[in-house]
Every structure is written in structure tokens, then in C-alpha cells.
Amino acid sequence: MTKTTASQSKTDVSTSVIRQHAEQEYAEELAAIREEDVYPKPENWLTSPKMTLLYLLGGKTPKGKEISPKYVGDPKLMEMAIATLATDRALLLYGLPGTAKSWVSEHLAAAVSGDSTLLIQGTAGTDESALRYSWNYAQLIANGPTPEALVESPTMRGMRDGKVVRVEELTRVGSDVQDALITILSEKTLPIPELSSEVQAQKGFNIIATANNRDRGVNELSSALARRFNTVVLPPPATLEDEVTIVQRRVEQLGRALQYPVEKPAVEELRRVVTIFRELRNGVTLDGKTKIKQPSGTLSTAEAISVVNNGLACAGYFGSGKLTATDLATSLVGAIVKDPGADVVAWREYRQTIMKNREDWKDLFKACKEIDE
């Protein structure tokens, strides 16, 4: 197969790309883990389930190598996700936006198959060929249906090589296209009638799909398809501390990659941002005493991360080089006010009744107020 697709060319690790794949960014951790891995591995897995769990949850390898936590939350959920891949059932990660579904999916693929790039991005326009194969028409016309004219889909490659294939936003894919997955998952073969051949899935092939709660009812999975998936629901972070940890970790990571000329943000600053997100998301203050109007947006952890990130960029390029309330305020307000009607009301009320009365929030309150006016 001479075709080079975008993903294949990425095997040479270049550190100047904006965002590296998980298997590149964490190559060192993965190498250490694999070296020490003594546990049984399902066929074609590069890492045993046990060590994959360590990779996701973080901790120390037997020899003491520090592994950073990728997922912060209930370990049970990661156990369930990994165990699913080890059976012949597919995995569906389901949940609210920004709950690390794609993130976990990428790291799972990286740990299990060493390759997180077999990716199908689900949209309304995704057609069956994206899941199966398509043709290079120039060649098709010139030579008729030949193996050379065939353009493989990530699914086909995953089946052939025994790797994990990722399908993002499965529920946005049209129902008839989803049905193509049923055959792949139950037959574990992909027929190519034009060439009178087929690709048989090698052990190690499996599918991780992600789907978003908010898309419910868009193209709900048919029961036949749903039956082939184990569903693991990823919840929003359970506690303030968890969420602050997540934001802190991601911001640091991204900061390293993007190299903003700015100091590391103080945990206190992160805690305030996360507090605002959690209170507005849950419709009640953290102490459970005051009810709050909820804005329309999801206010996910992912958005909290990007608020802080934007703030850091501001501080680095236009500010003092140290994250201040003013740097945060713009993107904070932007993240919360999505709908100029109701959201403005909810946000103003929160600002005036909650933020204003917190002694050590004066700077943030003022900064936000200035933006609104």
C-alpha cells in the first residue's frame, strides 16, 4: 500500500507541532511502562490492561518511575473502560461535553495500540465510506477496481493491524451509516465485493466511540448497535479539588507546549475559576446555601481549562507576565454568556449577589464588572 495518509506521516516525532498525539507526548512514560510490564496481555496489545490502568490513573511503576495521571476521577470507570476493550465488545464513552471522553479515548488507544490516530470524526456528513473504504477515482478509471485504487478507512486499517479505532461523536453520524458499524462489530470482517475479498479483523481490533449527552436524540444509537457497546458514562468532576487538579494539570501541560512568557498560575486563581464554573453549572453555591440561575452553556471542565489558558496568553503577551483577574475576566465572561438574553441576566445576578460579597474576590469582581460595562 503506497498511499500515505495524513496520519501516517506523523510517525516521525517533531516537537514543534502544536499538539502532539498522546503516544508521542507520553512516549517516555509508555516506554517505561512497557518495559516493566509483566502482566498478561491480550493479543496485539502493547500494554497489559493492568499497566494501561496505571497509565490512565497515574502513580508509580514497580521500579519507581512517576506516571502522570491522565484521568482524574473514579478509578472504577477506567477499569470498566479497559476491561471492555479486553473483551470483544466495543466501548462507548458517554457523557456531558468536556468530561474527557475524547481525552480518555485517545490515551486508551495510545496505551493499548500505540496509535491514537485511527480516528473517524463523526459529523452529519460522515458517510459509509469513512467507516469502510473509498476509491481513488483516477486509478479506478485507469485500472478498474484494484487493491491500489482502494483508499482504506481507519477502520479497515485498525482491523487489519489489530488496533483500536476511535469514532468521535458517534451520535452525530446518520443512522444508516451507524448501521455499517453493526456488521463490522458483529462479523469482525469488512467485505470488499468489488475485489471479491475481505479484511478480517485481527485480534486487538476494537472500537472506542464517544458520544455527547447534549446530542441526545440527534441520532440515538439503534438498539442493535447499542447492544454491541459497553457504555461507560463519564461524569463531571465530583469535587472542587478534583476539578482544580484537572485544570491545573492541563494548563501546565498546554503552557509547556505553547510556551507562553508567563508565570505558572496560582492555585488560588484556578480555584476561583473552577468555583465559578461549578456553582453556575450546578445552580447552587458550593456551600449549598444559595440557589443560582443557571446559564445555558455547559460550563464544562474543558471550558474552564480554556478560560485559564486564554488568560495566560493575555497575561503573557499583553499583560504583566503574571496572571491577574483582568486577564481572566474577558474569556470568563465569554465562556459563561453564550446567549445574550438569559445568560446575561444569570451572569449579572451571580456577579452582583455572589461574587461581590466574597472578600477575596474583589479584584475579579471589579474586572468582570468593567467588561460588562
Binding site: M80, A83, R89, T231
Partner: protein, 861 residues
């Protein structure tokens, strides 16, 4: 001679398995079990093939059976296993705890002392204060006393009730049941866990004791900690951590383990000492793990002997304990009452699951074989793997019962997934956690809430035990049980519908039986629809749900009689004495009649009713009681058992209402008027169901008179007018005339609004088409002063409150059609006047009254 202590976890199925092995190895010739000695005689019934756990042993003071102490046993409870083992081996077995007789004796003594103290201290306070808030003071003192020690007490209670749970927590496992399974799985032989438990418990209790003694020596403790070697017990528990925990608990609670604790353990030691004198060679003692170190009389471990006082001290402690007279019996129990969440301290989380893994265990099979005198069988349907698959299959079935998708094919997937999950979690076989997670991921679409909706059925279950018919029971319990069997009513906890046809003899008997049960405080059946409507019909619709507490209630009711009829009748009479108003008494009558209580009870009830009816001269009382009386009368007549006593009372009360109706209809606020109107409506309904046209006429006469009386509250006038129209006493024309007359006399608008409210009470389609009436009303409205009109608007709107949207719309159409007719008949003249801007201005206002749109919105339109 040897004594072996087996400290178990109450209802721990793992402990049961270990206990079977340990007993087989030890081969005891006498067995002592933690439990009330009053129950020892009842142990023999555990051997009966009719005995099916869950069951409970209840020991109750004969004078007050409701205070029963309840000791539940499941098939998987170690104590139950011990009893069965002893019976099968035909060795003596006894309960060894402090007698319940002493416990209640002590409680009574303490209570008496407290009452005496209170009296004394009350005497010292100034009289005025005592009168004002004597009780309040007592309460608040109690409360503050409690809150002070609460935290420590809670901690120590939880440790004492579930000491192995504490070990589990120290070992880093949150769930004691899972921990127990694991520990027993990992032990070299299951029986080996008992010495390990004993050591760990000794450590825990000695540390508690030490800490309580040397509270002051904090420094020493810190030294201690630094030098503490990280010793590991055989259970894989860090003993130093255990010691630290015990110390902190002791500090919080002041070492107070509860007053009964020393007494109970002294009593158990007394029983062991007595057993040692019987000549038995190998004595086995089965008790809660907590007590184990304090019962090990033969301990050569110096630490342990610190927990055991000398015999003379025990004897002194137990001498002259007060006691009450008690009796004991078995009652059926349920798995749901073993659920820890119901507040049962020694409860477990998942009784159905524990029962299942016990059932499939080798040890259970060995015990069964021993009890039935046969060789143990190998049966692959009885394997742990089979239990896990059954669990998941049941989960799928319950989901399907709830109309959720859960294909049977997925059960296999779920089972395989649970195994993979267990392997990842370093377990050889899936435990309940793995199974739950598998059910969630594979069968419930990842939704834990969905799993929550089937959890109770799946993990707790509705298992109800049974006891042998020859077990001791009160005559009442036997009578009820016989009746229940005869009527084929099942003791089932899950609510079920029961429809009864009263034309059949068994139907009537069932109804009677269930109603009598309600009188003895065992409301087995509750009416599914408003019984008032059902009375007199031939069908009764009930929901029945048995509760295991009913058995306790029955024991308690036994003092009222030996048969259900007798007990129910006597309890009804007792209840009667507590009734206050005529209506309350009437409510009892309504229940007593269909229950067909005995003549004595009915006679007393009627006598009371008659007396109250005669003594009270209040029309309100009469009005309140009459509808129920009418229903009762009708009930009797449809069954050919018309009761002349009842009819006489009815007549008397009815007459009072007719003669003095006006009294209740004057000077009323709208709220009170509404109540009166509701009662009158009920009365009319009741008379209608009696099909007594003579009385109906009398009543309508009275209505007419009161409706025409100037002093009558207008709300009531409105309602009576309506009633008179509904019952065809007044025609539509009369109605319109009365209204016109009423309005014509410059009646204040607010009274007109009240009238309208009363008139519209209780909705009804029929009045929507009363063109004439609405025309009069509309004319009145149109002529109102603007200010007055706005003032009265809220009242007018309220009158239409109970109308549905559809009804409002159709009323709107009626009004509109009034004018349509007019314009047709009178031609263009009116049509043009209808075009008048003034008239048009009225439309939004009518619209507002009828639609409930805000007025300003209506104005803007």
C-alpha cells in the same frame, strides 16, 4: 476439656462458610450461641422442614408484647448455621446472652428512677415555671446531653455493631461484605480466620480499654506511635493503625461502650462457665466477633485476660438483676428487613446476593447433607459461576420487567465482562462490585441510576420466611394464620392489587378479614380508590402488602382476644374511647360496619353515637356526620342488613339539619361558606345514593327556604340556587328571575361576586348553556361603574378558577352567541351598535375574566 471461641460477623455469609469448616474440624459436643436464653427452648423448631429463613426469634414482655426484642436469622447467618449444625449432630445447643427479661427489667428500673428524679427536681422548681414549660426544660436538657457525646457514641456503636467492618476499613476496603469474602477466600483454610479475628479484636478492644484508662497520658502515646512496629495481622491489617483508630474512638467516647455491654458479657461468661461444668469436652462458642476476646476464658494471652474479670465480679454484677416476665416465639421475617439501610445496625447491604452465594457454596451443601443425613452432592448448577450468571440474568429480567431493553444475549457478554473486570482488579472471580459494574456497563447503558431502580429487587429481594405450624404462637396468631390460609391470601411484601367481589361468600369473608386486620393495627390492605364511592357497590379494590412487623403487632393484639373477631372488636372499643367528635365516631362506625365486628362492639359503638348525637345540639356536627351515616345506611341496606339503630340516629340528625339549616348558613366568611357548601353537597350526594326521594324533598324544601332568606350568606345562596336547579326544583327561568331580582335590588357588587362563586362551586357543564342567566349577568356587568368593576374583578375571576380552559372557552362562546342571536333577530340596528367602540372595549375585559391573561396585556391588545 477445651473451649473454642468463634467470633463471627452477624449475617456474614463468608463467616458462615468458615464456621461450617471450623465446626467440622473442631467437632464440638456442646454449642453456645449469642442470643437470648429465653429462645433456647424454641431452637428445636429450626430443625423442622417447614422452617424457612429468614425468620426472627422474638422475645417479649408478656405484659407488653409490643416491646418485643427481635433477633433475625437468614439462611446465611452464622448463628443460624450453628443452630442447624448442633441439631444435625444432636449436640446440646443454648443461647447464652443476658436474658431479655433482665434487659427490660433494667430498662423499667431506669425509667422508674428517671421518673422519680424528674418528680423530685420538678418539685424544687418554682411552680409557675413548671406549669409553663416543665416538659420543655426536660427535653432540652436531654438534647444537649446527647449532642455532647453523640459523635463518640456513634463511632463506638458502629464499631461494636460491625467490628469486622472496622477491620475492613483499616484494611482499606470500604465494603465489609467484600472484605469478608476476600479474607475468607485468601485464608489457608476457611476456619483459619477465627483465630485471626480473635487476635485483631483483642488488639482493638485492648486499645480501647487502655485509651479509656489513660486518657491523660497523651505523651506516652506519641512515643508509642513512633516506636510502633508496623506489625501485620494474619488478615493483612496494619495493627498499629487499628490501635490508633481505637484510641481516637475511645477519646471521643470516653471509653463508654454502653451500660449493657459489661452485663451481657458477664452473662455470656457465666453461661460458658456453667457449660464447662457439664462434662462436655469440646465447647464451641459462637458470638459476634466483638465479644470474642472477652469470652475466651482459657486465654493464655495476657492481653486478652485483661478483658476478662474474675468470676466473683461477674457473679456480683449479675446478682439481683430486676426482671420482667417474658415469652418467646418465632415469626417469619424478610430479607428487606435485613437491609442495613433500613436502620438495622447489624444489617447487611445485599441479603439476596449473600443468600445466593451461601446457597451455592460447598459448605452450605455439606451442612444440608449433614442435616438430611445424606452424602454431599456435587452439582455444577450450584457453583459460584452459576450464581454470578444468575445474578446478571435476573438483572436483565428486571430491566425487561420495567420495559427496558436488555437482551438475553447480553447476559453472557456481561458475565464475560465481569470476569475480565475481576481479573483486572486482581481477583480470581467476580465479586458483587464487578457484577454491579458489568450490569451497569453492559445492561444499563452506563446509567447507574437505572441500576439503582432494579437494585432492591436484585440485591435485597422479597424473600419471606416461614415457620412451622407447631411452633409456639399465640392463639390469635394461630387463628389469623388459619383464616389467612383458608382465604388463600399470601404473605407478600410486594404490593399487589386485590379485587374482591362481595357477591361471593369468600369475597365477603376476605373483605371482612382484611378490615378486621386493620383494627388490630395490621393494615394489610389499603383501598385503591376512594372507599366512600365504593361502599355499597359490589366490588372492592384493594392494594395488599404484607409487612413482617405485622407478626409482632399480632402478638401484641393477642391480649385483646384469641380470635381476630374478638381482638378486632375489643380494639375497636378501645379506639372508640379515644374519639372526640361526632364525625370521628362516625368514621369508626364506617369502618366497623363492613368489618362486621361482634354485637357487643357494635352495640357500644352505636350507643356512643346515639349519646353523642343526643348530647350535641350542634348543627355543624350533625352536618358533618350525616354523609357518613348515609353511606353506612346504604351499606347495610345493600347487604340486606339494614340496621334500625343506625336509621334512628340518622333520622334524628337529619331532622336537626332540616329544621336548623339556616343557623349554619348566616354570617359566614367565604372560606367557611365554602366548607359548609361542600358538606351540603356531600349530604345531597349521600341522600341521592339512598334513593330516598322523600328525604330529598324535605332537604330541598329546606334549601329553598334558606336560599330565599335575606340573611343567608350570598355564597351559600349561590350554591343552594345551583343545587335547586340541578335537582330540578327550579327551572332555568326561575333561576334567571331570582338572579335578576337579586341584582335588581342594588345588591353590593361584592355580594353578587360571592353569589356567583357559590353558584359555580363544583363546576359542571350544564350551567354553561344557561343563556338567560348569562344574559342577566352580562347586563349587570355592563352597567357596573368602571371603578367598581375593577375593584370586583379579582373576585369575579376567582369564581371561574375551577373552570378548565375548555369550559372557559365554551362559556365565552355562549356569551358571544347571545349577541349573535340578538343581531340576527334585531337586524342591523344592533349589529351597528355592537360595532360601538365602547362595546368593543368590553371584549378584552370579558376575555380577561375568562382567560386569566394579565389585565395590562389585555388592555394593550
Amino acid at each position: 476439656m477445651t473451649v473454642s471461641i468463634f467470633g463471627i460477623r452477624h449475617h456474614g455469609s463468608g463467616c458462615s462458610r468458615a464456621l461450617v469448616s471450623a465446626l467440622e474440624d473442631y467437632n464440638p459436643d456442646l454449642l453456645l450461641v449469642e442470643g437470648p436464653p429465653e429462645g433456647t427452648d424454641a431452637i428445636k423448631y429450626a430443625a423442622s422442614p417447614e422452617m424457612r429463613p429468614p425468620v426472627a426469634l422474638i422475645v417479649y414482655p408478656e405484659a407488653d408484647p409490643k416491646r418485643a426484642a427481635i433477633y433475625p436469622f437468614a439462611a446465611f447467618s452464622p448463628e443460624w448455621v450453628a443452630l442447624r449444625y448442633a441439631i444435625a449432630r444432636e449436640i446440646p445447643v443454648e443461647f447464652m446472652d443476658l436474658p431479655v427479661a433482665n434487659r427490660y427489667g433494667l430498662e423499667d428500673a431506669v425509667e422508674a428512677q428517671r421518673a422519680a428524679d424528674e418528680l423530685k427536681s420538678a418539685g424544687q422548681e418554682s411552680e409557675q415555671e413548671e406549669l409553663q414549660d416543665g416538659e420543655l426544660v426536660g427535653d432540652s436538657v436531654d438534647a444537649s446531653y446527647e449532642s455532647e457525646d453523640d459523635e463518640g457514641d456513634d463511632l463506638i456503636t458502629s464499631i461494636r455493631e460491625d467490628p469486622l467492618g472496622t477491620l475492613a476499613r483499616v484494611a482499606g476496603e470500604t465494603d465489609p461484605e467484600r472484605w469478608e469474602e476476600r479474607v475468607i477466600e485468601q485464608a489457608s483454610t476457611p476456619g483459619a480466620i477465627f483465630p485471626a479475628f480473635l487476635d485483631a479484636m483483642t488488639e482493638l478492644r485492648c486499645a480501647l480499654l487502655d485509651a479509656a484508662k489513660n486518657e491523660a497520658k497523651e505523651e506516652e502515646e506519641t512515643n508509642d506511635e513512633s516506636s510502633a512496629k508496623t506489625e501485620e495481622s494474619a488478615l493483612g491489617i496494619d495493627l498499629a493503625a487499628l490501635t490508633r483508630l481505637a484510641r481516637s474512638v475511645a477519646r471521643a467516647s470516653g471509653g463508654n461502650v454502653g451500660d449493657l455491654e459489661p452485663l451481657r458479657e458477664a452473662a455470656m461468661r457465666r453461661a460458658i462457665r456453667a457449660a464447662m461444668k457439664t462434662g462436655a469436652q469440646r465447647i464451641a462458642v459462637v458470638c459476634g466477633a466483638w465479644h470474642a476476646p472477652a469470652l475466651d476464658l482459657e486465654a493464655d494471652n495476657p492481653k486478652r485476660s485483661a478483658l476478662i474479670p474474675k468470676k466473683s465480679r461477674d457473679d456480683a454484677l449479675l446478682a439481683k438483676l430486676p426482671k420482667v416476665k417474658t415469652a418467646a416465639t418465632w415469626i417469619p421475617w424478610t430479607h428487606s428487613r435485613l437491609d442495613r439501610r433500613t436502620g438495622y445496625g447489624a444489617g447487611v447491604e445485599s441479603p439476596a446476593w449473600l443468600a445466593e452465594i451461601w446457597r451455592v457454596s460447598e459448605e452450605a451443601e455439606r451442612l444440608d447433607a449433614l442435616c438430611n443425613n445424606r452424602a454431599p452432592k456435587q452439582d455444577c448448577a450450584r457453583s459460584y459461576a452459576a450464581a454470578t450468571t444468575t445474578f446478571l440474568a435476573r438483572a436483565a429480567r428486571f430491566l425487561r420487567d420495567d420495559k427496558m431493553q436488555a437482551a438475553a444475549a447480553n447476559v453472557v457478554d456481561a458475565a464475560r465482562f465481569s470476569e475480565t473486570l475481576a481479573a483486572l482488579r486482581m481477583r480470581s472471580t467476580p465479586n458483587l462490585d464487578d457484577l454491579r459494574d458489568a450490569a451497569v456497563a453492559v445492561l444499563c447503558g452506563g446509567e447507574r441510576l437505572l441500576y439503582g431502580s432494579i437494585r432492591e429487587r436484585l440485591e435485597i429481594g422479597t424473600e419471606l420466611g416461614a415457620i412451622p405450624s407447631d411452633a409456639p404462637a399465640t392463639p390469635l396468631a394461630k387463628n389469623i394464620e388459619a383464616e389467612r390460609k383458608r382465604l388463600r391470601l399470601k404473605r407478600e411484601e410486594l404490593p399487589k392489587n386485590l379485587d374482591i367481589d362481595l357477591r361471593q361468600e369468600t369475597g365477603r369473608e376476605k373483605s371482612r378479614f382484611l378490615r378486621r386486620m386493620a383494627f388490630i393495627d395490621a393494615p394489610w390492605a389499603t383501598p385503591r380508590q376512594d372507599e366512600r364511592r365504593a361502599l355499597g357497590a359490589f366490588r372492592e379494590t384493594w392494594t395488599i402488602a404484607w409487612k413482617p412487623e405485622f407478626d409482632v403487632v399480632i402478638v401484641d393484639a393477642s391480649k385483646y382476644g384469641a380470635t381476630l373477631l374478638e381482638a378486632a372488636s375489643n380494639m375497636a372499643v378501645a379506639e372508640l374511647d379515644k374519639k372526640q367528635t361526632l364525625a370521628d365516631v362516625m368514621e369508626l362506625v364506617e369502618r366497623a360496619l363492613p368489618a362486621e365486628l361482634n354485637d357487643d362492639a357494635l352495640e357500644r359503638v352505636f350507643r356512643r353515637l346515639r349519646n353523642d348525637a343526643a348530647v350535641s345540639s350542634d348543627v355543624n356536627d350533625a352536618l358533618e356526620a350525616l354523609p357518613a351515616l348515609a353511606r353506612a345506611l346504604r351499606y347495610g341496606s345493600t347487604r340486606g342488613r339494614a340496621d334500625s339503630r343506625l336509621a334512628a340516629i340518622f333520622d334524628a340528625l337529619f331532622e336537626r339539619v332540616i329544621l336548623r339549616l339556616k343557623e349554619v348558613c348566616v354570617n359566614l366568611t367565604d372560606d367557611v361558606a365554602e366548607t359548609v357548601v361542600a358538606q351540603l353537597a356531600q349530604l345531597v350526594d349521600a341522600i341521592m345514593t339512598l334513593e330516598d326521594s322523600e328525604r330529598l324533598d324535605l332537604l330541598l324544601d329546606a334549601f329553598e327556604k334558606v336560599a330565599l332568606d335575606d340573611e343567608t350568606s350570598k355564597y351559600v345562596v349561590g350554591a343552594l340556587t345551583r343545587s335547586l336547579y340541578d335537582r330540578k326544583r327550579w327551572s332555568e327561568q326561575t333561576l334567571a328571575d331570582k338572579l335578576a331580582f337579586f341584582i335588581g335590588r342594588a345588591t353590593p357588587p361584592n355580594e353578587v361576586a360571592s353569589w356567583l362563586q357559590g353558584f359555580l362551586y363544583g363546576q359542571g357543564q350544564t350551567i354553561l348553556w344557561l343563556d338567560e342567566l348569562w344574559r342577566v349577568f352580562d347586563g349587570w356587568l355592563a352597567n357596573l361603574d368602571q371603578d367598581v368593576f375593577i375593584e370586583e374583578l379579582p373576585l369575579l375571576r376567582r369564581a371561574f378558577d375551577s373552570f378548565s380552559d375548555a369550559e372557559r372557552r365554551s362559556l365565552g362562546q355562549t356569551v358571544a352567541s347571545l349577541y349573535a342571536q340578538k343581531s340576527e333577530s334585531q337586524g342591523d340596528v344592533v349589529a351597528s351598535s355592537w360595532d360601538d367602540p365602547n362595546a368593543r372595549a368590553l371584549i378584552p375585559i370579558l376575555d380577561f375574566i375568562l382567560s386569566g391573561k394579565p389585565l395590562d396585556a389585555a388592555h394593550k391588545e
